[in-house]
């Protein structure tokens, strides 16, 4: 199993799909961190550094999109989704423009930079904006598929990417994988409980399913790479067939994956739900791996939540 950060895969996908001359890329003085520099090396004339001015970058990207461009605008998630929120909303989403906000360094695995840079609210914020698609791949191969889908689907996107190198789930970067925007991937079948993950919590969910299997508990694992539009059918099926669901996200438990799944369940097929995520608190500096333990985002935490969900169902 190889490892790659989804941000690195993003840069490679830009360089690969950037042969399409509609692609323009904007960055806000973080191109080495966001990996848009990988695109810049191949297509320097279509890479634009906008300086440390994220709000302006989003409106400029929108102006470019009115000229028939597919504008990829990148910075850290905290600045993309929050500092530049109103520009994303009014300049890109309201006019339904082809602006792809690709936000790296999402979640607490930003690590040592600490809470000011650990964005745990972006999924909730971005999915509340009309016209916006919200996607978060879990590995390099799926990040490539997500960028391809974002290019091929008109309208604004929020793509949530991570800093940390993560284990391959689907394969290595460049592998053609089965990926449909808005259609969740069931990675493991199971009948006792369903674990729905997003981003690097997909890997944690797969490990949790292994641990549960050793106890004789059959856990289904779903990669909910597209948070919006969410795959209602797959969630309802999981509810009806397993009767207990655990969501896992490197994000506040309010409004993100857990919130979205709760909405679908309560309107369509109520069942017991437990949400694994950041418990409505800010992060802190530390090694990413240590923070995952500290904030209860480990496979063990998902296992514990699965036990609770199964117990509550009975």
């Amino acid at each position: 199993m190889g490892k790659m950060a989804t941000r690195e895969a993003y840069g490679r996908a830009l360089a690969e799909f950037g042969v399409d001359e509609r692609v323009v890329v904007l960055d806000a003085d973080l191109s080495k961190s966001t990996f848009t520099v990988t695109f810049k090396k191949v297509f320097p004339e279509r890479h634009f550094n906008m300086g440390i001015a994220e709000g302006n970058m989003m409106s400029v990207a929108a102006g470019m999109a009115t000229c028939g461009k597919i504008a990829f605008a990148s910075t850290f998630a905290i600045f993309a989704a929050e500092r530049a929120l109103e520009q994303v909303r009014n300049s890109a989403c309201y006019p339904n423009l082809n602006v792809k906000v690709c936000a790296t360094h999402a979640g607490i695995t930003v690590g040592e930079d600490g809470a000011s840079h650990q964005c745990v609210e972006d999924l909730a914020i971005m999915r509340a904006i009309p016209n916006m698609h919200v996607v978060s791949p879990c590995d390099g191969a799926s990040a490539r598929a997500v960028i391809r889908a974002a290019m091929d689907t008109p309208g604004p996107f929020y793509v949530r990417l991570g800093r940390l190198a993560v284990e391959d789930v689907y394969g290595t970067y460049g592998d053609e994988i089965s990926f449909t925007l808005g259609k969740a991937n069931t990675l493991r079948e199971g009948t006792d409980v369903t674990l729905i993950g997003i981003g690097l919590m997909v890997q944690q969910s797969l490990k949790a399913a292994e641990m549960l299997a050793q106890e004789g508990i059959s856990a289904r694992v779903i990669d909910m790479h597209t948070l919006k539009p969410i795959d209602v059918e797959t969630i309802v099926k999981a509810s009806k067939e397993t009767g207990a669901i655990v969501t896992a996200e490197e994000h506040n438990i309010i409004g993100g994956l857990g919130g979205a799944v709760a909405e679908v369940l309560s309107e369509n097929a109520p069942c017991i739900l437990r949400r694994v995520g950041v418990k409505d608190i800010f992060g802190q500096s530390g090694k990413p791996e240590a923070l995952l333990v500290l904030y209860h985002l480990m496979p063990e935490d998902i296992v514990k939540a699965a036990h609770e969900a199964i117990a509550a169902r009975k």
Partner: protein
């Protein structure tokens, strides 16, 4: 500018002013003051300068216009109506449910709108993006934008100006509709902008100061901007809020208020007289 053109554009502007008051009166909502102050600039752009075609609104080579002070949409709608982008009856539905003309410009609803605006500071930034793509694609179109002076209090305006100078966008010409008033009062009292021309020049722009109601000065400035190489041009247009309706002129309270029936009647008498005088 020859006399015939000047007269034609004055009539264009006078008819715009009448439509602005008509629309805001019908809606009993909207921003007449700032719409009337940027009317002459828009009359020149849409009546004379912009290469745009109502039958070909998506032409990649068309000139772009972005109303960064989006609340002055009635003025833009009036100009687009006179250029026959849509029927003149639409202005009567301004700001009402189900109608085409939104309170602020909406590019997905209204033909001829190049960018949805309304949140101050974002329009000029979008204009920068359009001008950058003109350079990238080696197209000869020009991008025009109008900002409010109060709008300059938004930080994004300065981020956008920095970027426009950095990318040497000599295909971008922006106007500041410098009427000196914003909702809460004079800009100098709400948040003093200091010397606008000096600040804009310090950001790397070519700056021209004009009387924003003088069509000849507007034309001269636009022509000067077209000959500037390697930097964008800001035309600081000194204007009067409410220009053309005497009781609205230079009054901050007409920023976002609609006229009542008697005020509407008085405005129409004045505007009709102005049109009649031009039609002689």
């Amino acid at each position: 500018m020859d006399k015939i053109t000047e007269k034609r554009l004055k009539l264009f502007a006078a008819n715009m002013r009448k439509m602005i008051i008509e629309g805001v009166f019908q809606a009993q909502s909207g921003h007449p003051g700032g719409s009337l102050s940027c009317t002459d600039i828009l009359a020149y752009l849409y009546g004379e300068r912009l290469h745009v075609d109502p039958c070909d609104t998506a032409n990649p080579d068309r000139d772009r216009f972005v109303l960064s002070k989006g609340h002055c949409a009635p003025a833009l709608y009036a100009a687009l109506t006179l250029r026959e982008f849509f029927a003149s009856c639409e202005i009567g539905g301004l700001r009402s449910c189900g109608a085409m003309l939104q309170g602020h410009p909406c590019m997905t609803e209204t033909p001829g709108i190049d960018m949805s605006t309304g949140s101050l500071g974002q329009g000029i930034a979008a204009s920068v993006g359009m001008a950058m793509m003109g350079k990238l694609d080696k197209r000869d179109y020009r991008v025009f934008s109008i900002l409010g002076d109060g709008e300059l209090q938004e930080g994004e305006v300065w981020e956008a100006q920095m970027a426009a100078a950095h990318y040497k966008l000599d295909n971008l010409t922006a106007f500041i509709d410098n009427n000196g008033l914003q909702i809460d009062g004079p800009t100098s009292e709400v948040m003093n902008l200091g010397s606008i021309p000096a600040k804009v020049a310090a950001f790397g722009w070519h700056v021209i100061e004009i009387d924003g109601h003088d069509l000849q000065q507007i034309e001269n400035a636009v022509h000067e901007a077209e000959n500037v190489k390697g930097q964008p041009t800001m035309i600081v247009a000194h204007t009067h809020k409410g220009k053309g309706v005497s009781f609205m002129e230079d009054q901050a309270q007409w920023h976002g208020a609609a006229p009542k029936q008697d005020q509407y009647d008085a405005a129409m008498i004045e505007l009709n007289a102005a049109i009649a005088a031009l039609e002689v």
